[in-house]
Amino acid sequence: MRTGVNLQHPVIQVIFGAVIAIFGAALQWVLWPWVGPSRFILFLPAVMIASLFGGGIIAGSAATFVSVLTVVYFFMPLLNSLKVSESGAWLQVFIFVLTSLSISVLVQFMNVRTKKLADAEMRAEGAQRLTFAAEAANVGIWEWDVQKDQMKWDDQMLKFYGITRESFSGTVDSWQRGLHPGDRARANQILQESFLGKTKFKLEFRVVRPDGAVRTIFASALVVRDYNGKVKQLFGLNRDITDEKRAMEKLKSACEVAESAARARTRFLDIAAHELRTPVTAFSLLLQMTELQMEKGQAVEISTLKRMRVQADRLAHLVVDLLEVARLERGFLKLKRQRTDLSALISECRLNFEMQFPDRRFLFSEPLYPVEITVDPVRIYEVISNLIDNAVKYTPAGTPIEISMEKDLTRVRVAVKDRGSGIPPERQKELFKVFDRGEDAEEVRYAGLGLGLFICRGLVELHGGSIGVKSQMGVGSTFYFEIPFEIPREIVLDQAAS
C-alpha cells in the first residue's frame, strides 16, 4: 500500500533543494567570522555540484537558485556591514569543501532513503500482485535453496498440502512427506533428472493431506545453477488440478458410455440382421427344396413341413421380442392385472417345459396353499418361462433345474436355479441390459437376440418388483425376481397416467 508522500515528486525535490540551499547559506553565515567575504563565491559552485550530485537536476538547480538569492539579498548586506580579516584562505577552501561534502552526503542519504522506500513499496506491490495472480490461477509458489535445504512456501502451497505454517518443516522433507506413496518414486526421479539437466522439472503427482484427502497437483520449476553448473536453487509453482481432472474424467466416462451404447446398438443390429436372416434363409431353402421335389413328382416329407413351421415360429418369436422391447422402451406396454395363483402358474409352466424337454428334470416344490397375488398372469408366465428357458439353453443336458417360491408379508420371490458353469461377476450386471449378449458375437453365438432378460426386467419392474442373479463360477446361477403384494403408489399413478 502507498503510504505518505512521493519523495520523487518534483515539487518535493524543489522544496528539498531550497532547504539544502538555506542550510548552506546559514552555515556560511555562522562560519563567516573565519571565512570572510572574498572567497565566498566559491561556495556557489560547491552547493551547485553537491546538489546536482545528490538530488538530481531539479533539486540542484533549485538549490543553486535559492542560494544565490539568499546570498545576494540577505547575506551580502550583512557581510558588507562586517569587517573580517583576510587571513586563513586555506581554511576557507577546506571549509567550503567540507560544506559541499556534508551537503552532498546529506542529499545522498535522503535520496537513498527515498529510493529504498520506493523500492520496498514496489516490491510489496509486486508481491501483492503475484499473490493475487497466484490465488486466481490456483497456483502455489515455492522456492528451494538446495545447498542449505531451505524451502519457502506461500500460503497457497500450505493450503494445497493441508498443513499449517507451524507444522511446515521448511525443508524438502515437507514436500516429500505430502506425496502420495504411489507417486513418490517417480517425482523424485524427475527431480533428480532435472538436477542432471536431462528433463525439465514438470510433472503431475498426487498429494495426501494429513486429513486423508487426495489432491492432484501439477508442478513445474526453474532450476538455477551457480557458475560451476551446480544446482543452487529451484523456483517453482504448484497448481491444484484435482477439480479439472475430475471434470475431465467425468466427461471422458460420459463419452465412453455414449460410445459403448452406440457400439452396442451397432452390434445388436449386426446380430439382429444375422438372427433374422438365418430363419429366413432356412425357410426359403426348405421351400425351394419342396418345390423342386414336387416338380419332380417326389413325395414331400411331413418332417420338411415341420422344419418350416419351426423356422417360421422362430422368426415370429424374434419379431415379437423386438416389438416387446420397442413397447417397453416407449412405455406402451399395459398390464392386465388379476388375482392369480402364482404356484399354479409356475406348475403350469414347468409342465410345459417337461413336455418340450422330456430328458431334462424340472423340480418345483409346490407349496400346499395357493399363493395369490394381483399380477398380469400372461406377463409373469412369460418371465418364469424365459428364466427356465435360459437355464435349459445354457446348462449341460444332465443337470436339473430347480424352481422355488417363497413369500413374506410384503412380497413373493420366485427363483430358477441351475447347475451351469456360472456367470462371471462383470457380466452379471450387463445381463439385464438391452442389446446385450456375449462380448464377441462373432465368436460365441447363441440362438436369439439376447433380449429375453431385458424384457423380463421390464415386465417385473412394471409390477413394481425387481430381478437379479446370483452366480458362482463352476457351481451355477440362480435367477430370481420379486413382486410386492402391494404395488408401489408411484407405479400405479405412473401407469394410470400413461
Partner: protein
Amino acid sequence: MTLGSASKLVLVIEDEEDIRYTLQVFLESEGYVVQTAENGLSALEWLKLGRIPNCILLDMKMPVMTGWQFAREFVDRYDHLAPILIMTAAADAEQRAKEIGASGWIGKPFVLQELLDKIKRVERVEPE
C-alpha cells in the same frame, strides 16, 4: 446321377441344421456327394481323414470356429486345394471373400439354382 468315385464331393460347413439338411438333399439330388459339418473345427477334423472336396460351402458366423478361422486354417494346411464359396449375410461379403482367398460368395438368403451355378463355376475338376 452318378455315385461312387466319379461323384464330386461338396463339404458344407454351416451351423444351422435346416440349411445343412436342405443343401445336402438338394446337392445330392444334383449328383454330388455331400459331407456336412456344423462348424469349422469339425470340418477340419473330417478333412484329416484325407479326402479333399471339390468345393467347400462355408458359413461365416458359427460357434466354436468361425468361417474366417476355418478359411485361415484350411489355406495354411491345404493351400488352395479346394475352392471355397462363402455363404454370408455380411454387407462386405465380396471384400471378405477376397481377404480369405475364397473363390466366390453368395448372399443369404439365396436361390438354390444360383448356388448350383456358382458351385459348377468354381468346383475343382479332377484330371481325367
